[in-house]
Symmetry: D2
Subunit: 123 residues, 4 copies
């Protein structure tokens, strides 16, 4: 794991320990907290068109709220991974390698249906 | 941003470009994809007790599924942040600094109600 | 079988009792199960454009999957409400009455920013 | 569909039409709104133990918040179903009939692993 993410992981552990909050940080609770924050992030985008969503960072207020919610999501994902002993970047890379194999470019280029998760390409 | 996370961000961009999938990666769609993956992660924990959730990584099959789902969540969070131009670790650190100020240890130690998001401590 | 909501609530209770599954149906677990199913529903829509989403029921396969996921969401929401002793329709009507008061038509007509949850209209 | 739920569906349609908000109520947007509300409901339970969650309706403030969030979830689920032309109770009953067949009581009684969605019983 790289230093920045390792430092954040350590900072989150210290933050919880200083407040005696580790007792609430069971993986079950942390998954719920992550889910709640993704819900707040979703609310920032729910009424926007695709084009408006692409321009969201050009409006100061909206950009600040989106950055804040993404920060909260990253906090709980990183804390959950820390408690479970999972390396976030390694886990992502492993899944991406798997996806690259299952969705070779010449089979899925530009195709939304293949972009749908879990739909294998024909052999 | 650190090198591993920057490399993952770049790898995700290349993965999408090779498949001409960037057209589907509007922030709105990516937030939905992130939400869908968090749903799958949630399903791994929904019937477990807090204690069973704490031991989830001791069972090989369950550990593999949890690591895979966390990998998928990290993929979409990193891709979303890349498309929006947001530094994930910086955003998390900024929110954590804010939380450390709003929830000083001597006010919230061991208290679940204060641990609830958004509940400020009394002055 | 009749389609009444009270009958569904009773049917869900019997389904759980017959399998001795009520022990797993704590409100906490049911909220997670609901969240997981909403994630599956979200996955059906994540790569669609707004227009494609509006036409989703015209494709047999897609319509069947959407109906199935909505069925699962309704199952867990109804079971959760049953366990908590909450009347779903009454709770929805109460919130709607509140929203009708906070968002009078002449203040918010056609305005997406006011359509965003929690944004009060100016006095 | 029973009268109460049909009346709520009609009330939600009128509420949106009066405000010229139907334009924002694409199925895609409504699924996101539903997801956001389930996130808020999740936040009410994330730090509670299973026992605390079972007692949540005994505390006036907590009960009011839970009822309000469940009302919001029901609002968006009912509106989504209305826009898609799906009967919520019928869809739930259809899935429950399917689950009753896949999880016969004598095969799954008291077993949490079988309670996990998608895990079929052995033949």
């Amino acid at each position: 794991m790289d230093d920045d993410l390792a430092a954040l992981t350590a900072r989150l552990e210290a933050f919880a320990d200083e407040r005696d909050w580790a007792q609430f940080h069971t993986p079950k609770n942390l998954v719920m907290a992550l889910s709640g924050e993704v819900g707040e992030l979703t609310a920032e985008f729910q009424w926007l068109t695709a084009a408006q969503s692409a321009a969201v960072m050009t409006d100061q207020d909206h950009a600040d709220r989106v950055r804040a919610e993404i920060g909260d999501v990253m906090i709980y994902l990183t804390r959950l991974a820390g408690v479970l002993g999972i390396d976030l970047v390694a886990a992502a890379n492993a899944k991406l390698t798997d996806s690259a194999r299952r969705y070779p470019p010449d089979r899925v280029r530009g195709d939304a249906t293949k972009a749908a998760k879990g739909q294998p390409t024909e052999s």
